[in-house]
């Protein structure tokens, strides 16, 4: 009997037992003004610039507002900004704030706060760093106006200020934003629709957010991080539950209202409960990653990397991650998020069709591989990396490779993958990860696609063609140019095998039916969500 069967058995029995029953007393007594939410992970810190974990970004989106917000069409829309102007040469951006914006301490949001916030954000964000590299000055013109003067045009400015990839450019009071970006803030006065109840925060267990009465929502309909962020409950309680079976039981029992990411194994049980709704949470999903070390044999030879691609079955990986639910995954002959405007399969033939082990073995032999151990770092405490690691071990063995399977935890993988020493001396040959689809729409926040050698993400791929086309994308003037550039990035990155994508997968979200207004998106949006008794 495996983990999946046990979980299904335990939680499933509960689900069946509850089907058709009324909500338990404990739920009926709970206030309809409090939404109880189980987040994807523990909110261990609360500085969205210092710590870039998604869970921090998600909580921060409640507490701090942004100048622009990305909408469901992936377009940047004005949020705290009332208007903007660009000089004819594209080098001077002048922004004007909306009137009446307030921080949670009652102070007005001023241009000097924005300048300090953007400076702190830019020091930690890949796009921010690109802006800093060409920045002449960033100044407050008056209380509501600020100006960003650049040495050369930066066409992706609004996207940079709107993007939902961590870190987002959240606006904080100047006194907080002046904190060193590599040190954590301790004051959580925000500009967003909810206040952080610091006194009730128990890291690892609970975080509480209270409605900010003086928040001025935009008039437009809310769409992801854009539009009117209307909060319809008084309190949102984040209840951290490390055990998925417990979270499933608590949702069935009415002890919580919304579970951000139920694991695939438990979804059939939740679907059977008439009091619970289940749907895809983030339509942008995730991309699985088989990351190879380009510095050492065998994967320093592109033929060895291509051999892996030729033999790799994305279906095997995806089924290991999501199980039998075909709605949750699709093949991905490329690196960019499916169903988004720039998606491309150019050059993706190597990942399509029947897997050719004979040709892969032949290519591997040509690369000079002669049976040396291949060190695979596999984090066992992350279900996604564990599942991928098991498939990889089998794949590499079938290719005739000598697998050194290092079963460890994510914390160890995190530090060991930074080692540039040879695999036998504390280094590594490959590890698994996954990337949020929201980060893989364009190269802007897609660190894993970068292939600038020593400066690249772990594995340090060096593909001048990929880098050249990424630069072309940044300079693109319109959607057509962007699409063409992304196609060429995809092709070049597959030719040089920057990394091996293991497929595209989605996850569910689940909530009780007395909760309404939950929308699909790359993070849980609480505006527009209400709850009846």
């Amino acid at each position: 009997m495996d983990r999946r069967t046990v979980l299904k058995g335990l939680a499933g029995a509960g689900g069946l037992a509850l089907t058709g029953l009324s909500a338990p007393a404990i739920a009926q007594g709970a206030s309809a003004r409090t939404l109880r939410f189980v987040p994807q992970a523990n909110l261990a810190n609360f500085d969205p610039i210092w710590g870039t974990q998604y869970v921090v970004r998600n909580a921060a989106a409640l507490v701090w507002d942004t100048l622009y917000g990305i909408d469901a069409q992936l377009q940047p829309q004005r949020q705290m900004v009332e208007s903007e102007e660009t000089s004819d040469d594209g080098k001077i951006w002048t922004f004007k704030l909306r009137p009446g914006l307030k921080f949670h301490d009652g102070e007005p949001v001023l241009a000097k706060d924005v300048v300090a916030s953007l400076s702190r954000w830019a020091a930690r964000d890949p796009m921010g760093l690109m802006i800093i590299a060409i920045q002449q000055e960033l100044t407050a013109v008056d209380d509501r106006t600020f100006k960003w003067v650049l040495k050369q045009p930066f066409p992706k400015m609004l996207y940079a200020l709107a993007k939902n990839n961590a870190p987002c450019s959240f606006i904080m009071p100047e006194r907080i934003a002046k904190t060193d970006p590599f040190k954590q803030i301790t004051d959580y006065v925000g500009s967003g629709p909810m206040k952080f109840a610091k006194g009730e925060w128990v890291p690892g267990a609970k975080a509480v957010f209270e409605k900010f009465a003086d928040y001025v929502p935009r008039q437009e309909k809310a769409s992801w991080l854009a539009g009117g962020k209307q909060i319809l409950v008084d309190r949102v309680e984040w209840i951290v539950m490390p055990d998925p079976a417990t979270a499933a039981a608590a949702l069935q029992n009415g002890e919580v209202d919304w579970w951000e990411n139920p694991i695939a194994d438990l979804v059939p049980v939740l679907k059977k409960n008439k009091n619970i709704s289940v749907d895809i949470g983030d339509p942008l999903g995730n991309i699985g990653s088989f990351r190879m070390n380009h510095l050492f044999a065998p994967f320093n030879d592109v033929r060895a990397r291509r051999a892996v691609l030729m033999a790799l079955s994305q279906e095997d990986y995806m089924r290991a991650i999501v199980g039998d639910d075909n709605a949750l995954w699709k093949s991905l002959p490329g690196f960019f998020t499916p169903d988004t405007p720039l998606y491309s399969e150019l050059g993706g033939e190597i990942l399509k069709g029947k897997r050719d082990f004979d040709a892969a073995k032949k290519l591997l032999a040509e690369s000079g591989y002669s049976g040396q151990p291949v060190t695979c770092l596999v984090a066992q405490d992350q279900p996604i990396t564990k599942a991928q690691g098991d498939v990889t071990a089998d794949l590499l063995k079938r290719l005739g490779m000598n697998v050194d399977f290092v079963a460890t935890d994510w914390g160890t993988v995190g530090s060991r993958r930074a080692q540039k020493t040879p695999p036998g001396q504390g280094g590594w040959n490959m590890f698994h990860s996954w990337h949020a689809g929201a980060d893989c729409i364009t190269p802007a926040a897609y660190t894993a696609i970068r292939a600038n050698g020593e400066k690249a993400w772990f594995g340090w791929p060096n593909s001048p063609n990929t880098e050249k086309e990424i630069t072309t994308w940044f300079d693109a003037k319109n959607l057509e140019e962007e699409k063409a550039a992304i196609g060429r990035v995809n092709k070049a990155a597959l030719e040089d095998v920057v990394y091996a994508p293991t497929g595209f997968f989605l996850t569910y979200t689940a909530w009780r039916k007395n909760v309404s207004g939950i929308t699909k998106g790359p993070l849980p949006f609480f505006w527009g969500v209400s709850k009846s008794a």
Binding site: A44, N45, R124, K183
Partner: protein, 313 residues
């Protein structure tokens, strides 16, 4: 007696010092880097290095250790790398749930296990004895999390008598406090009950064969009086010892139990801190647990003198 207790308290200092050095060294050489976890998956190596520097993790071992010891001597357990909150405050937040869980479990164990052991010894070899010992083997064999899931299914999901998860402080009422602890305490107590029941039975069997028990019977004393007044008191030393040793078992079991029932206690704090490599928190918790264990052993030694007047220090 007082001087003995004082000597024992003084003797805890070198023990704590050795524990401190051991824990610090172990964490220093253990793989993993909190800066990597903080920086997130997309961070550059330069960002990670800057975070390491800002946290002081790039300093030599002796400098880090010296600073930590100096702070501890001043009553400061340090600050969590992740939450930026004082470790003592974080432990304070979590102490209540864990202490509550352990107290309820301990009481449950004593109330259930000791009478079971006594009855099993009294009816040694009978069906009752076999049933009780069968339960004990069952209790030993079932992992805490399995018992936890089964209990949650029956009593929370099926019968809807008790909540699945969470913790309510005692300040919000006795029943709200207790209802969150019943299932976790039973789950955690299973192994403990089995252990104490078996030891009680073994100790009682030995005592029940003594001459003075035969004399008591000959004098016409009732069975209850013989078992619970004469025999149990003389069998108490090994029982108290195993209850004390079991505190360590409870601490270990609390880590799993708190995860299964989402109780915000020290066990979960420990797991979270280890997975994130939050060194100051791990060090603070281990020191606390070590201190508690030393203290419990001291209390047991004192209790020996109460249950057996022949023992003197």
């Amino acid at each position: 007696m007082l001087s003995y207790i004082l000597r024992r308290i003084v003797a805890t200092l070198p023990v704590m010092a050795i524990v401190a050095l051991f824990v610090f060294s172990l964490l220093y050489i253990a793989p993993g880097d909190p800066a990597v976890v903080i920086a997130g998956d997309q961070a550059s190596p330069e960002d990670v290095e800057r975070i390491r520097q800002s946290l002081g993790l790039d300093r030599p071992f002796l400098v880090q250790f010296g600073g930590w010891v100096w702070r501890i001597l001043h009553g400061d357990l340090g600050t969590s790398i992740f939450t930026n909150l004082p470790v003592s405050a974080m432990i304070g937040q979590r102490l209540g749930p864990t202490l509550s869980l352990m107290i309820v479990t301990l009481l449950l164990t004593i109330v259930v296990a000791v009478p079971l052991g006594v009855v099993a010894a009294w009816k040694a070899g009978s069906l009752i004895d076999r049933v009780i010992m069968g339960f004990a083997v069952f209790g030993f064999s079932l992992p805490v999390f399995v018992v936890g899931y089964i209990l949650a299914y029956i009593f929370a999901l099926e019968l809807e008598w008790l909540p699945v998860q969470g913790y309510t402080p005692l300040t919000q009422g006795f029943w709200p406090w207790l209802e969150n602890l019943i299932l976790p305490a039973i789950a955690l107590g299973c192994v403990y009950i089995a252990l104490v029941a078996r030891i009680t039975r073994a100790a009682m069997l030995e005592v029940l064969q003594q001459d003075y028990i035969r004399t008591a019977r000959a004098k016409g004393l009732g069975q209850g009086g013989i078992l619970f007044i004469h025999a149990l008191k003389n069998a108490a030393v090994p029982i108290v010892t195993v209850i004390g040793i079991g505190i360590a078992l409870l601490i270990g079991g609390a880590v799993v139990t708190e995860s299964v029932f989402a109780i915000p206690g020290l066990g979960r704090l420990t797991i979270d801190a280890i997975l994130r490599r939050d060194y100051p928190v791990i060090q603070g918790i281990v020191l606390l647990f070590s201190f508690v264990y030393v203290l419990v052993n001291l209390m047991i030694d004192v209790i020996y003198t109460l249950v057996d007047p022949r023992i003197r220090y």
